[in-house]
């Protein structure tokens, strides 16, 4: 077989494998989406329709009457504030670690990685007690602080790695041009670090939006409830009503997918450390 034919064959096999993986990964989500748009009596029909013949929003409307918009808002507030706080702190820490050498630096780096291996559930009881002491349980603020703390190590690590790929000549040039180091960070380094910042932000967003364990332990009141906990409650509330259940799942998944799709070109280069040549 000539090499062109072989190359074509390899490409077709690759494409087939990719399609297969996509189907396996996406099918549950697409099925959930389609179920959430089917009228109740069509859901359990056999043979099942992949694309609903008579799509309806009745299940979404039902969610609204149980107050899902409140929980979406809570999750959104917590996630967005966490992302900003976490990325800002991580940028400062990552920059310091990337640029300066100081006593104890390797210890700091080691600890940052080491604490990432502590399983969250083991921290729940002491954290709850601590939070209650501060009066921050059943508040969104408490969740923001906790999520920031849990995601800082990863965000610092991503940004530390990314800042190392940016030549320090840029800050040197900016400082000689008359800017302080902090200003040089803001005006020169951060604009060049967009991929890294977005990668760190997306990691943090995913965690904050989807977290169930921490939220269910710390917040029991209805006012401070976040979306994952609300969906869990629907399991009991709706029993086996697949319509509202899948609709709730879609409400939870779709925003994150949209954000990823919008930022995907930054996310990928941020993960591989990007490369900006001066």
């Amino acid at each position: 077989m000539s090499w062109q034919r072989r190359a074509l064959l390899r490409k077709s096999v690759n494409a087939a494998v990719v399609v297969a993986i996509c189907i396996v990964a996406l099918f549950p989500i697409l099925w959930g989406l389609s179920t959430s748009l089917k009228p109740a009596n069509a859901i359990l029909e056999y043979p099942p329709q992949l694309i609903p013949a008579a799509p309806t929003l009745e299940h979404y409307r039902q969610l609204l009457t149980t107050g899902i918009h409140k929980y979406i808002l809570n999750s959104a507030i917590v996630s967005i504030v966490t992302v900003f706080l976490c990325v800002m702190l991580a940028a400062l820490a990552g920059y310091a670690l990337a640029r300066f050498s100081f006593r104890g630096k390797s210890l700091v780096l080691f600890v940052i990685v080491a604490v990432m291996s502590i399983p969250l559930p083991s921290l729940m009881v002491p954290t709850f007690t601590f939070l209650a002491l501060l009066g921050l349980n059943n508040t969104l603020t408490g969740l923001v602080l906790l999520y920031t703390a849990y995601q800082l190590p990863l965000a610092v690590w991503v940004l530390y790695g990314y800042f190392q790929t940016i030549p320090s000549e840029f800050e040197n040039a900016a400082m000689i041009d008359g800017y302080s180091r902090l200003q040089a960070l803001r005006r020169v380094v951060l604009p060049l670090s967009r991929p890294g910042l977005i990668a760190a932000g997306l990691f943090t967003l995913t965690f904050a939006w989807n977290d169930f364990v921490v939220a269910v332990v710390m917040n029991s009141s209805d006012d401070a409830r976040t979306l994952p906990v609300a969906i869990y409650n629907y399991l009991g509330f709706f029993g086996r009503e697949w319509g509202p259940l899948t609709a709730a799942a879609m409400v939870s998944i779709v925003p994150v997918i949209v954000v990823f799709v919008v930022f995907q070109k930054y996310f990928l280069s941020g993960m591989t450390g990007g490369g900006v040549k001066g």
Binding site: P167, E169, F170, N172, A173, A174, M175, I176, D177, G178, Y179, S180, R181, Q183, V188, P191, L192, V276, K277, G278
Partner: protein, 364 residues
Amino acid sequence: MSAVRFVGVGKRFGDVEALSDLHLAIDAGEFVSLLGPSGSGKSTSLNLLAGLLPIDAGDIFIGDRRVNDLPPDRRDLAMVFQNYALYPHMTVFENIAFPLRARGRNFPDADIARKVDAVAATLGVTDLLARYPKELSGGQQQRVALGRAMVRDPKVFLLDEPLSNLDARLRIRMRKDIKALHDALQSTIVYVTHDQSEAMTLSSRIAVFDRGRLQQYGTPDDVYNRPANLFVANFVGEREINRIDGMLESAADGLRFRGAGLVVALAATPARMAEFAGRAVTLAVRAEGVMPTGDETGVAAKVTQTELSGPDQIVYASAGDDVELCCRADPAAHLRKGQSIRLRFQPERLHFFDPSTSRSLSVA
């Protein structure tokens, strides 16, 4: 424009002493090159002056101000980096305007535009103002980097091997441009390079560094014709210098050098050399100081290799106890490999060094 003074400046990195006890005085408006091989301390000196590295010992003065504790943004310097460090996310205009927008410099936008346009016109980059650095060629980036340095009228310009990333022809062209710029601005320029021809053509004075120490500080003529030690003699000049170890001995008609199987007569002995009679010395002479001659009293040698170098023929010849000498010949002589020739050493081009200290004996 300001003068710059290094007084006893030192810097170490861990166990390595990158710079020891540097004393250097640069006058206002002077173009001084810091010349040396890698690791000689020249870039370290520049970075200490810029404030990018903290000093370990000594003081640095810009004008009358002691700047040891001043951060780079307060020293009123401008620097051009080896790889230009142009901000990739800004246009050329914004790059050049950037220093003018720093805190404490409240230039109105109209003024900024005027200054940037003036600088761009001087450097010939007006057409490039809307482009981004990655769309420019090496030479264009270099001129933009120069523009960014010039726009502020700083007290001192620092240039860190700015031409080393350019191809040979462009380098020679930019050398002319930089020299013209210096003449026009009359600015104090501190220029780091490892290329001795750059230092020779551009500077009013050259500071030669080796292994963290200043070896010699003088005009290009001083450094080329009166090197203070063997390192300077070898490093400055197009090619390595010819070196022969031997002895000075008295003869009927003055002093003679004898070493490695050959004898070189010194003309009219300078008074100060007389005291070195009977002493071991290292003779050093540049290629242009050794020439083939028709004179039968010249040193016998056999040609081992020839190179055509523009207007000259460079001839490598083996003389005495297999000592290889590099000399310059007229290409019209058409010397061939294996040919036997006689070499004449020009007495006024001979340098003598103490073999143990490498210090020059012929310079007072």
